[in-house]
């Protein structure tokens, strides 16, 4: 009798032992329990975040927190988890899913990164459990998560940054409500992944139908943000309506004219001036510094991408004996970008030579005789203001200009903001120009880069067809 009990008990124990790991992984598969695998050193913040997240979610969310002591263990056990939090976050764990993927990095604190593993989702819609994992990381990298880190003393309660007008601005952290009257800075915010914090913003290029369609793809909610204040632009603002939105950060440009009145609101104001490749990168660094560790990380990634792209193009184009001479025209055929403008820097970064490099100021008007003297090889024109190719190809007086004769007249692409304006998307503009000028010699694929870029920085999964029609 006792012997029989022992055997059954052993069998039961063995069974239980076999089942328990199964139970663990099975538990990991059920929608309401999320396994978060984190470093022991990060216990305090992770527990606080998990608790806060759970109470923020309707119906509660059970997060199963498991702590290990080394990053190696995390890599080894990654398959069991929905979210991994580690200090070795640069390399993705070597897992492939039959139907799913490993996400990009979410930087939670300096030196502490996380990824979610979407094991049940393929192409498009996220499985609810995977979506919950993603939402957890978004929560942590958002203002609420940042506040918890601040309370724990892991992040500063305020940062001091030098904006692009040279002023030192103190920005209390976290920033929850951003007002961006500078319609270029809005795109910085999207690029660093903080768009959900915008309460009102200007959107460069999104007022015409083409731009509006494009922006709706990037953010279906953008019109509500754009219209939150009746008047808000570089020249004037309805300060009272702006105040009613209770922003805690205002993004302006060095040319915004109503900032004296706005300073009465007591809200920190960052002035941007990102109209050259270097200045654009500085602007991204600045916005990253003000919006938390994950934003800073995204900004760094963007700057690295920008520089490596420029280096790649340079490597491929510097051997060209006779760089092409490019004429960059604006809203009228005879209106051209001066040498001081961003557009000229883009042309030169793409390996071309701008015929208008000696002109100064803003847009210049020239006459056809001057164009005949320059006789450019390629004409590029902007995707706004009614500019069109017929103005060049259909006009008899342009017919003798080399670019028109050889049919090399091209329109810059735009999704929302035109790719020739100093928004982050302009890196795609540079790639596009390089590919257009030197199709054989530059092996960067505009469509592929566009898909990667918009997914990584705007969270928008652009389809191949759309990318190809943009890059035409």
């Amino acid at each position: 009798m006792a012997k029989r009990l022992c055997v059954y008990g052993l069998l039961a124990a063995l069974l239980a032992g076999a089942l328990v790991p199964g139970a663990v992984s099975a538990r990991a598969q059920t929608p309401d329990r999320l396994v978060v695998l984190a470093l022991e050193s990060a216990r305090a913040p992770v527990e606080a975040w998990a608790a806060a997240f759970a109470s923020a979610i309707e119906g509660g969310a059970a997060l199963d927190l498991q702590f290990v002591s080394t990053a190696g263990e995390i890599t080894a056990r990654a398959g069991e988890a929905a979210v991994i939090v580690s200090d070795a976050y640069e390399d993705a764990p070597p897992i492939t899913f039959e139907c799913g993927y490993v996400s990009d990095v979410f930087l939670l604190l300096p030196g502490l990164g996380a990824r979610y593993l979407a094991s049940n989702s393929c192409g498009g819609a996220l499985d609810p459990r995977d979506a919950l994992a993603r939402d957890f990381l978004r929560f942590v990298t958002g203002p609420d998560g940042q506040q918890i880190a601040v309370d724990l003393g892991l992040l500063p309660a305020a940062v001091e940054v030098a904006d692009q007008s040279g002023a030192t601005v103190r920005v209390p952290q976290p920033v929850r409500r951003i007002a961006s009257p500078y319609s270029i800075a809005t795109y910085y915010v999207y690029t660093v992944g903080a768009a959900d914090r915008l309460v009102v913003a200007g959107y460069l290029g999104a007022r015409d139908p083409e731009g509006q369609t494009g922006m709706l793809k990037l953010d279906p909610n953008f019109e509500a943000i754009a219209n939150a204040v009746s008047t808000l632009n570089q020249k004037e603002a309805n300060i009272e309506e702006l105040a009613a939105l209770q922003p805690d950060l205002i993004l302006a440009s060095t040319r915004t004219s109503w900032l004296d009145a706005a300073s009465a609101l007591g809200v920190p104001i960052l002035r941007f001036e990102g109209e050259s490749p270097q200045a654009l990168q500085d602007a991204m660094t600045l916005i990253g510094a003000a919006l938390g560790p994950h934003a800073a990380y995204q900004a760094e990634k963007f700057n690295a991408y920008y520089n490596s792209t420029l280096d790649a193009i340079l490597a491929q184009t510097q051997t060209i004996a006779e760089p092409l001479r490019v004429y960059f025209s604006g809203t009228e055929p005879l209106r051209v970008a001066s040498g001081e403008m961003y557009q000229t820097a883009m042309v030169e970064a793409a390996g071309g030579v701008s015929v208008t490099a000696d002109l100064i100021g803003y847009w210049n008007d020239v006459n056809l005789e001057q164009v005949a003297i320059w006789n450019p090889d390629v004409i590029l024109y902007v995707p706004y203001g009614g500019a069109n190719a017929e103005a060049f190809t259909g006009a008899a007086e342009w017919s003798a200009i080399r670019a028109v004769r050889e049919g090399r007249v091209y329109r810059l692409p735009k999704l929302s903001a035109p790719w020739d304006t100093p928004v982050p998307d302009s890196i795609l503009g540079i790639i596009w120009i390089a590919q257009t000028l030197y199709p054989g010699q530059v092996n960067l694929d505009c469509a592929a880069e566009a898909m990667t870029f918009y997914r990584q920085f705007y969270g928008y999964a652009m389809g191949e067809e759309e990318a190809h029609s943009l890059c035409k």
Partner: protein
């Protein structure tokens, strides 16, 4: 003769012998053609005189062979320089002579044809179309019609007041002009600052950069027709400028004559503005310069003003398109050249007007 000049300080310029006066007058009338010929050879792109002549002959005789490939010299001479020169001369003559006639009928040497608001109305019409549609042809047509509307408004409103008709007309004209300027400011306020607003500002600054051959026939027809009519009434302008009662006593119908001149000048000015935008100073400065040189008698003043206006604007536009790689707006030169010119005239001229 010299004794007389000494007794009249400042009257040096036109108390010369009649023969010298006549020679000066003839010189002025003959000036436009040689200046035009000289200017068509000028431009940033070097084209030799032979090529210019060949291009002009080909154009005039219709024997240009387009299938031989695009010919940059021909294109530039006939499609860029020629229309600009024609437009500059027509608009210059147009604005100058309408300024002179308005100075005559308003008996006021400080007015030009915008006193009744035609330029302000035309500017509003252009801005409106730029805001709504943006197409060049509609912009031109709209500016033309709103120029006419502004003047009609000024004329009919002033008729409601029966006292001091000239003063009332001047005041109402200024008011209507201001009204349309304000409306234009409103349009600029609502315009898209990236796009439409620069287009409006650029249009208002005035310039002949976008003039094409297609603009010339309508401009020439109205300008030349108007100039013929104004030339026809040149004698009566003398009498009109003495006062309405005197004109009546000498058998004229001042109201009808003024109406004819206003209608004619307004059509001409609206046409000029719709092609070239707002070009200031010509209507004010040139009549004074002409008066200093040939005297106030409109028999000579009218033709001289036309010639000097044509030459002035032609030289200004030529400077604008040749001095720098980028186009310098016309308004820069008309001010920079026109203001010192007017100051010099004011010093020299004590006899052109009181």
């Amino acid at each position: 003769m010299r004794a007389l000049s000494r007794r009249l300080p400042g009257a040096r310029v036109w108390i010369h012998s009649e023969r010298r006066q006549a020679a000066l007058y003839l010189l002025i009338l003959l000036l436009p053609l040689p200046v035009a010929v000289y200017c068509i050879g000028l431009g940033r792109y070097a084209i030799s005189p032979e090529e210019v002549v060949r291009a002009l002959l080909d154009f005039a005789l219709g024997r240009h062979d387009a299938s031989a490939g695009p010919d940059i010299a021909y294109n530039l001479v006939t499609r860029v320089r020629l229309p600009r020169i024609a437009a500059a001369m027509l608009i210059g003559a147009n604005l100058a002579v309408t300024g002179a006639t308005f100075q005559g009928i308003f008996r006021n040497p400080l007015v030009d044809s915008n006193i009744l608001g035609v330029t302000s109305g035309a500017g509003f019409g252009a801005a409106l179309m730029l805001l709504l549609v943006g197409d060049a042809l509609e912009v031109q047509v709209s500016s033309f019609f709103f120029g006419l509307i502004a003047v009609m408004l000024a004329y009919f409103v002033s008729r409601l007041y029966h006292s001091a008709p000239l003063l009332v007309l001047t005041l109402v004209g200024i008011l209507i002009g201001s009204f349309f300027s304000s409306l234009t400011s409103l349009l600029k306020y609502v315009a898209d600052p990236l796009d439409t607003l620069p287009a409006i500002t650029y249009w208002l600054m005035g310039g002949l950069t976008d003039v094409t051959l297609d603009d010339i026939p309508a401009l020439a027809a109205i300008s030349l027709l108007g100039m013929v009519v104004l030339w026809g009434v040149r004698w009566r302008l003398n009498v009109l400028s003495m006062g309405d009662n005197e004109a009546l006593a000498l058998g004229l119908n001042p109201a009808r004559l003024k109406l004819l001149i206003i209608v004619c000048s307004t059509l001409m000015t609206a046409m000029a503005v719709s092609v070239g935008g707002v070009i200031g100073w010509v209507g004010l400065v040139i009549p004074h310069a002409a008066r200093t040189l040939v005297g106030p008698d409109h028999q000579r003043l009218i033709p001289a003003t036309m010639a000097l206006g044509a030459v002035f604007l032609l030289l200004i536009d030529t400077m604008s398109r040749t001095l720098l790689p980028a186009e310098v707006p016309l308004g820069v030169f008309t001010g920079v050249v026109g203001v010192p010119l007017l100051l010099v005239i004011l010093r020299v001229n004590r006899t052109g007007w009181r």
